[in-house]
């Protein structure tokens, strides 16, 4: 993709080199990290003219050491020593600049480049430019796009066909292809605003929240398990996802969306929902491996929270400043730990977070559940052993190294039971019911660690454990949610080289110094941080957010590097448009639906996605949007589309994670023995991809084959790769085979007694929202006949199509299933045109 920018950069031979535009970016990107403000290897700074003159002679590029070293002319002394070499074009630019006298304007003083970096400037409100073509633009967005195209002398592309448009906007707004009925309605709607009406309808669909939640889950590194070796299941993680879907469907303004997720618990009289929102930060990985240091991994979680906020809201690679000052951006290491300090006092808790309808059955069943539980515990004599065990645990904590077995057991207690030491220190009478139960459950499960095998067998705790689990299984427990709570203040320090064992200077929670100041009158807390992030003065949050929306709708952001708005990121392709959109987003109260509506109703969005050979050769990444882009669907939407057209999809919104069938042996690769995959048997197995249980060490194969992120760090954009494993996945995975069967059954049901040609047409309409061309229809009918003949000769049709459809021959149904499967594998089916 780099090439695209370079090609655009090729200058007419006559144009003079401009230091700020042509040269400084090279020096900043490739030299300043070692020869700049922070580090001066060989005592050389290439951000000051005075210093730079030591390695260059104005007018004489051939004699300049700088050019000799970056061009490889100096044997064994090639600069930069790490990373890719400068391109020939970059070297040429340096050469010409030196030959033209190495003009270095005074304004480009050392350090100015950083503070002056474009993304850190206040958001401007540029007026949409005038364009020569006065007809094309449908709204302001288009005037920016068109003006840029006109600068190249290029025309925009014509509008896509209506069938393409409805499929495109349905996939983009709800993640599901339109039903043939919806397509017919749209095609028949001749009102001038038929498309806008369609958009409004789709934005009101509850599937909108599902479609757009996925992007947010990627950013939040959402998963249903801890990660690391043990990779325990997180049974309550989904509750935060449920909140996200609801918030998006309600079009919660992005400032509130931000504040509640960063500090919902600190809002005055916080509601359960506002506390659930903080579950965003509970998506950090948790290491429960025996022997790891708990404080080390707590610190790593806090670091991860700080770095994630830096990426998600500020679009900067804050994580780089964990060990040292950022090499390219003005983020000092201190800035990172000041951000860290906001999150350092936060603790973790799981709270009751009932969904509608849960409370009644819970309260009704509670007394009997408690009675039965107590009876079981009494029957097996738990009260006789647990107090002594707890006492020994405390002793082990006081005298580490004295009794190895107890050290080990204490380690297990603190690993498996959240907040274990706090519960241990609370006298039993003062513990909450939840704490009491959790401690007893851990005791029953782990007592064997400290007693002999024979004694353990006598106690029959294995049996007790099983009975307790069964009892719990029948009890209608409340849904819970993982949240943050503010604990006692903790001192924060800069950690030398990011090492938790090496605290340096103490730091307070303070917002990064290179941006606008935080509120002077409020005590620093996560809440003040959250409000600062969405303050209108913040130049980054709105830009970063609108850029991600744009990326979702065009396949690339206006800033292509949507994860990095710093000096190493790419510059915006349309800087004025980015600012105009950011300002508009602020003006419309951070409402995302309004922003999306504005973009998808633009002429730019509605362009055809067909390639344009001549223009694409000069703009291979389609940065200037001379057409829409064909985008392979994300992993989840490929599944959703197949299940939807075959009418297998169970379209319930929100709720728990589900486990669709998984081939035998996949889970064998998991280390944690507790990782079971209890396949959902009912319609739950046909839920949308975003609800699939995500086990970090053994993620669902179809998701990974199609580039879902691994939920380790915030993922700002997905790859769209193209591999043979994807082909095998779509051809042979039982989910897609079942979809093909369902699709064939639907086809035959909806076209009783019709011939192959008209069935081919209907199949296209069901899957691609359009009619086939003449040739395409022929391909399908030929293929149908071919498959039918093969199934005639073979007795296996019953295995391939196990259903019985009255009036339809089995071989016929099997042949259509084979054709349906081919359609589900089409590039066009898994692509948003």
């Amino acid at each position: 993709m780099k090439v695209s920018l370079l090609l655009l950069w090729v200058l007419p031979a006559a144009a003079a080199i401009d230091f700020t535009r042509d040269v400084e970016p090279i020096l900043a990107a490739r030299c300043h990290s070692c020869h700049g403000a922070r580090t001066q290897m060989k005592n050389l700074r290439l951000d000051s003219r005075e210093d730079a003159l030591r390695v260059l002679s104005p007018g004489k590029s051939a004699e300049s050491l700088l050019v000799r070293m970056v061009s490889g002319a100096e044997e064994k002394r090639i600069m930069p020593p790490v990373g890719a070499r400068l391109t020939a074009e970059e070297v040429e630019r340096l050469r010409r600049w030196i030959d033209e006298g190495a003009v270095w304007p005074k304004s480009a003083a050392a350090g100015a480049a950083k503070a002056g970096h474009w993304s850190l400037q206040p958001v401007s409100r540029p007026a949409p430019p005038n364009t020569r073509n006065r007809i094309w633009a449908r709204n302001e967005v288009d005037r920016f796009i068109l003006a840029r195209l006109e600068r190249e002398g290029w025309e925009p592309s014509p509008e896509a066909a209506k069938t393409t448009l409805i499929r495109r906007v349905s996939l983009d707004l709800t993640g599901l292809p339109p039903a043939p009925r919806e397509v017919a309605e749209f095609l028949g709607d001749n009102r001038a605003d038929a498309y806008e009406r369609l958009v409004d309808r789709l934005l009101e669909s509850p599937h909108y929240g599902e479609r757009w939640a996925r992007q947010w889950l990627d950013l939040a590194r959402y998963a249903d398990s801890d990660g690391y070796e043990k990779d325990y299941v997180r049974p309550h993680a989904w509750r935060w996802r449920h909140w996200v879907i609801g918030a998006l469907n309600a079009d919660m303004p992005f400032d509130r969306f931000t504040i509640e997720q960063i500090a919902g618990d600190l809002l005055p009289e916080a509601t359960v929902d506002q506390r659930i929102a903080t579950g965003f930060h509970r998506n950090t990985l948790t290491n429960r491996e025996g022997g790891v240091n708990n404080e080390q991994f707590r610190v790593e979680q806090v670091m991860d929270r700080a770095a994630t906020v830096g990426t998600v809201w500020l679009g900067l690679t804050f994580g780089c400043a964990q060990c040292h000052d950022h090499k390219y951006d003005p983020i000092a290491q201190k800035d990172f730990y000041r951000l860290f300090a906001f999150f350092n006092p936060a603790g973790e808790l799981d709270i009751d977070a009932p969904l509608d309808g849960e409370m009644g059955p819970y309260l009704a069943a509670l007394p009997e559940y408690r009675r039965n539980r107590e009876a079981l515990l009494a029957e097996y004599g738990v009260a006789k052993y647990q107090p002594a065990w707890e006492a020994r645990m405390k002793e082990a904590r006081e005298f580490p190294g004295k009794w190895t077995d107890w050290d080990h057991a204490l380690d297990a207690l603190t690993k498996y039971l959240d907040n274990a030491l706090r519960i241990l220190d609370t006298p039993p009478a003062k513990r909450t019911q939840k704490q009491t139960d959790a401690m007893t459950d851990h005791f029953v499960q782990n007592y064997h660690r400290v007693i002999g095998k024979d004694e353990w067998k006598q106690l029959k705790f294995t049996e007790l454990r099983k009975k307790l689990r069964e009892l719990r299984g029948g009890f209608p427990a409340l849904s819970e949610a993982p949240v943050l709570v503010e604990e006692a203040p903790r001192r924060s320090h800069v950690l030398v080289r990011g090492d938790w064992k090496k605290p340096g200077a103490a730091v307070e929670p303070v917002v990064p110094g290179f941006l606008h100041p935080g509120p002077a009158d409020a005590a620093p807390s996560r809440l003040t941080l959250a409000r600062w992030l969405v303050s209108p003065e913040n130049p980054l949050t709105a830009r970063v957010t609108v850029n991600r929306v744009w990326q979702e709708l065009f396949g690339r952001g206006l800033v292509r590097t949507s994860d990095d708005f710093g000096a190493q990121g790419e510059k915006p392709s349309h800087p004025e448009l980015l600012d105009w959109l950011a300002a508009r987003f602020l003006d419309t109260d951070w409402k995302r639906k309004a922003l999306i509506r504005l973009i998808v109703t633009s002429a730019a969005y509605r362009q055809s996605s067909n390639a344009r050979a001549e223009i694409d050769a000069r703009d291979p990444g389609n940065a200037l949007l001379s057409h829409q882009s064909r985008l392979r669907l994300p992993a989840e939407l490929i599944r959703d589309s197949a299940l939807h057209v075959s009418e297998l999809l169970y379209p319930a919104i929100g709720g728990r994670s589900v486990r669709p069938p998984l081939p035998k042996g996949v889970m064998d690769l998991a280390y944690g023995t507790d990782v079971g995959w209890n396949e959902d048997m009912g319609r739950e197995r046909y839920r949308r991809g975003l609800y699939i249980h995500f086990q970090r060490t053994v993620p669902y194969p179809q998701l990974m084959n199609f580039d879902a992120p691994d939920a380790a760090v915030a993922a700002c954009r997905r790859e769209r790769s193209n591999t043979p494993l994807q082909a095998l996945n779509l051809l042979n995975d039982p989910v897609f085979v079942e979809s093909a069967q369902g699709l064939a059954a639907r086809l035959l049901r909806e076209t009783p007694g019709r011939d192959a040609a008209s069935r081919a047409v209907h199949l296209f309409q069901l899957c691609l929202s359009r009619e086939p061309g003449r040739r395409e229809a022929e391909f399908l009918t030929d293929s149908y006949r071919q498959q039918a003949a093969l199934f005639e000769k073979n007795t296996a049709a019953a295995a391939f199509f196990p259903l019985e459809i009255p009036g339809v021959a089995r071989t016929d149904a099997a042949a259509w299933t084979a054709v349906a499967s081919a359609i589900l594998n089409l590039d066009e089916f898994i692509t948003r045109e």
Binding site: V82, A84, D329, Y671, L790
Partner: protein, 463 residues
Amino acid sequence: MRNRRQFLQAASGFGGLALADLMAAEANPLAPKPPHFPATARSVIFLFMPGGPSQIDLLDPKPELRKWHGKPLPSPATKDLKLAFIKPNANAVASPCTFSRHGQSGAEFSDLLPNLAGQADNLCVVRSLHTDAFNHDPGELMLMTGSMQFGRPSMGAWVSYGLGSESRDLPGFVVLSSGTGPSAGSNDWSNGFLPSAYQGTPFRGSGDPILYLSNPEGFTAPMQRARLDVLRRLNEKHRRDSGDAEIDARIASYELAFRMQMAAPELLDLAKEPKAVLDRYGVGREPTHQYGLHCLLARRMVERGVRFILVSHGSWDDHNDIDKNLRKNCEITDQPAAALIADLKQRGLLDSTLVIWGGEFGRTPMTQQQRPDIGYGRDHHPNAYSMWLAGGGMRAGATVGRTDDLGLEAVEDPIHIHDLQATLLHTLGFDHTKLTYFHSGRNFRLTDVEGKVVSKLLKKGAA
């Protein structure tokens, strides 16, 4: 992306390739690519031993420990030690194994490794490895991805990214796993932030060898061909209509998938392997069958152009009952691993195949168990441990590095994991500092910001 273009440019002189060619190569991320300089290894077999095998009982004898057996080690030696479970004052345990010298090189092997000992002159034993992590998951990430942080590409992914694949009909990076899976799971073969084309493909022990390789029930090979034919016609039609070259890549992926359906069963069909070969690997006999099969498959994959094969067998995490467990693991792995080396050599493949054997860390000279009803065991030991390497430009018959008399620290030629990785990339023809990928604001590489090539590990002329 930038680097791939650079390779291409370097291969043809600056700007020698037309943009169209660059784009075509871009369309197939696994097209073979030349490395930075001539390589000594073409493929890699990593015999990964997750959990951490005990070097003290296998490759690095410490007779001095007999003096301290049953007692804490002298405190000056242990005061700075940071271990996962045990405290530095735990009792030392001398190895009950007998060591002897083998081959012309006289390399020392424990009696638990009689077959590998027979290959002494083909192996390069390293006794001075050290790593940063003393827990499994971070340790594996360190070994496999060069960083204890999640989300980095694995070694195999880096190699696939750098070299592409030689095989037209098999994945370039394959994973075979037996016993308990590794702690870090799929992170050990993840593509991280590299395109997913570079991720490892696990070959499975049961069912399809590659996930979703078999056609659905009742669907024959001619039906599959017919399905792919109509798919291809429709895709080609749409390619012409839309003008999108990405559809060509999609068509190519389906054809490769089809070839994989043919090639994988051929790979797994051992009918043409002589019985003597099967016996040598211990295939068809317990306890060696599964691991022997994996070693044999690794050789067959190398023959078919697979670039990187990760063969994992675990777990070696013997906190308890190490006497029993270590013997068991050695009985499973010793013979097949030795057969693999001999077989590669006999076929003239050892020179171009780098074989590595080792885990994420080693084990302590002290025990962690005090309970009389459980056998003694050893804790994780990141400061000094052993691996062996063979083929692919490695020095044969050498023992490199030395630990102190108690086995606590590497005192001669300490080799960090990053150095091992740098050396591995070197044998494949890469300057490890230049095999980079731009992501999230900077260039990343397997060796992070560290690592140096260890020339002592390389045979003459390969350094």
